[in-house]
Symmetry: C2
Subunit: 467 residues, 2 copies
Amino acid sequence: MLCGVYGRMSIIPKSFKNKNTASDYEYKTEYFVQQIDHFGFANLDTYKQRYLIADQYWNANGGPIFFYTGNEGDITWFCNNTGFMWDIAAEFKALLVFAEHRYYGESLPYGPDTFKSHTHLNYLTSEQALADFAVLIGQLKRSLPGAANSSVVAFGGSYGGMLSAWMRIKYPNVIVGALAASAPIWQFTGITPCEAFNQVLTNAFKQASQICVENVRNSWATITSIGGTTSGRKFLSSVFNLCKPMSHQSDVDDLKAWLTDAWTDLAMVNYPYPANFLENLPAWPVKAVCNKLSLPAEGEALVQYVADAANIYFNYTGDSTCLNTSQQATGNLGDLGWGYQSCTEMVMPMCADGESDMFEPKSWNFTDFSEQCYKQWKTRPQENWITTEYWGKQLQYASNIIFSNGLLDPWSSGGVLESPALTLIPIVIPDGAHHLDLRASNPLDTAAVVAARIQEKNLIKMWLGQL
Amino acid sequence: MLCGVYGRMSIIPKSFKNKNTASDYEYKTEYFVQQIDHFGFANLDTYKQRYLIADQYWNANGGPIFFYTGNEGDITWFCNNTGFMWDIAAEFKALLVFAEHRYYGESLPYGPDTFKSHTHLNYLTSEQALADFAVLIGQLKRSLPGAANSSVVAFGGSYGGMLSAWMRIKYPNVIVGALAASAPIWQFTGITPCEAFNQVLTNAFKQASQICVENVRNSWATITSIGGTTSGRKFLSSVFNLCKPMSHQSDVDDLKAWLTDAWTDLAMVNYPYPANFLENLPAWPVKAVCNKLSLPAEGEALVQYVADAANIYFNYTGDSTCLNTSQQATGNLGDLGWGYQSCTEMVMPMCADGESDMFEPKSWNFTDFSEQCYKQWKTRPQENWITTEYWGKQLQYASNIIFSNGLLDPWSSGGVLESPALTLIPIVIPDGAHHLDLRASNPLDTAAVVAARIQEKNLIKMWLGQL
């Protein structure tokens, strides 16, 4: 429950991250020695930053460099899920580079002790990550024959998209432009109301079924009520097919958090095709889920519908013999890293009112949040720093950034949907979920995302002087 | 001899910094509690940043804020030597703020221990200083009644001018424009040749007298030769009226370094009027000095001329009974701070060839420099970081910066003399020395600096929407 209202620890859907990824994409894995601290000189430690590089499409005599600014997770996952870069590499004769974000994947500055010490965590900030990218690009341009005069375009989705946009804002000398897909750079205090995220999320469900939304909204009180007795918890354990039957009142809260995460993640991965390559979900999974919630219900019948719906997300293939509500709470290293980032720079206020959204009312209180952060990390968040550092809404001084957003994606609540300046181009994909445009093309892609990708390619050509 | 070729520890002329300043300017002294680390969250220490504030000219209903981005020294000195801001405050109905740079003046994060520990010094960087300024401006706008909608214009000279320009580059959301006077933002590796500084310096002397330059150039070997014997050192001690007679060969090197600094500082303060308010020098002091070196000479006669010339700089009033060559080497806290900055971020290569300049040939070697830095500070400089962080010559993405430079000022070698973009305005003052335009107007000001100040005022009016 630490970061954001509903225990959301990372922008990446949890269902993505714990999957092993297989890939047909061919790349080499390299490591670059980075200074651990780009903004201070007392600690001269270095660490090995992993990056993936594919030069099979590259025209080393002037071809551009497409550079993925890695986000809060293993870079191989982003590499394999950013098919758009692979799809267009040959046409642009581009070198592909996917750089891992420090403190994620293999790029752990202090190995297994990375997350054990307060001082070791000190260098996990977006500014250090951007500096890593700038230094790595400089080194690539100096060391790769033919790269010296190559233009560099940054790509990123989600937090990686934020980094791409911020890279162009803070280092326009290093990259000619950025495709920032589903980048909620305005999801910060004073810019976007804390209710917005859950309102957009609820709207995505409403498009599937109004009754679905009402059922979800009613389900919280019903679950709380039923979970108030031993027999009720026994019922819930059975209906949700839990591996570990509920025994305490707090288990009911865990169940609700687990469901909230499920609905949130579903909205993010609400793609027009079965994403059976990575996660086992049907096409338009929100619709599939809402089909199970499309009849008005209450009491135990409502709970049964909710469990059926959740089963689509957690066990679409039917392979799991039981479900585990604590699975999401444990988290992996990526979650730890994002938990720290949320408690320092990435303060994204979220709340729910239960009326304009389908969740239990929950307010946002920075002071409480700061206390929780101090308990966990012995440090405190800086509420307004990101807005000062990355210009907030004052983006009229930036240039050459594409801000693409799918309106089905709850993170579009903090995205740039209207142009703040001539060469900052918002691309809105009405039926798109979380950075759908960055994914590989698919026969079931909607017209909107196909058109978005064409526009993105043309804008990149403009930046490269090819149009 | 650590930083730069000739032991130059700071951009500010040494002759300025050790003077007490008296002032007719009225201001209040305030302190603001800053995070010691804006880019990391392990150290939650804070420190008190001093700033000076004058609101007697301010229209608190929309008047602008003129914000001096303090450099490597006591802020009261900059406040009292930036008369231009005081001269125009009433016309603009501006609030004046002079913010002290962390680790200088009274803004010492760890009090008397500030420079004693490696870890204490860790937060002395230009990025942290800019973040201080951005956070302070945010706080002023929130807390001063009427300031919320005030536009902020940054002013700075020398390193302070670099900070003003970088502030606009990195935080255009915080300031509408910057007057960067005599800011050598291009005095870095790969941009400006290391010889340039001493060539411009030599040209300033050449404008006074070609023979003067030849005499200075010849003086080094003559001093070395004469200083090679005990009787020669006795002669030198007497001619230069040294408080502590020279006893070792190394004293001869000290003498030459002391003279080199004197010629350098003279070129920087080569103003058209007697600057008897702060330092006791005649008008056009380089001309006055060169008058003593205007006849061809050699041997002891040449040394006598050099001593007479040096006496103008070190003892124009005749108040000193003897001169102390080690005075400049000891340094104050400001020198310590700049020494550290030179050995970390502010790597400004300087060299001399003895042909295009009037100094002893001395090469620049980064590796040697890095070794010396490691010995003194237990850290190493990052040769290319400033160029990556502040865009080097790729300034086409910046806007609303005035780069003023006097061509008599050796630091103009690293200045922006031609426009890299439409709203980056170079103002060249052919007969100007180091940030002359920032000083208070004077009846003896030349037409060029008077015109420069008019242009600066008009550009600031444009930024404020008043033109």
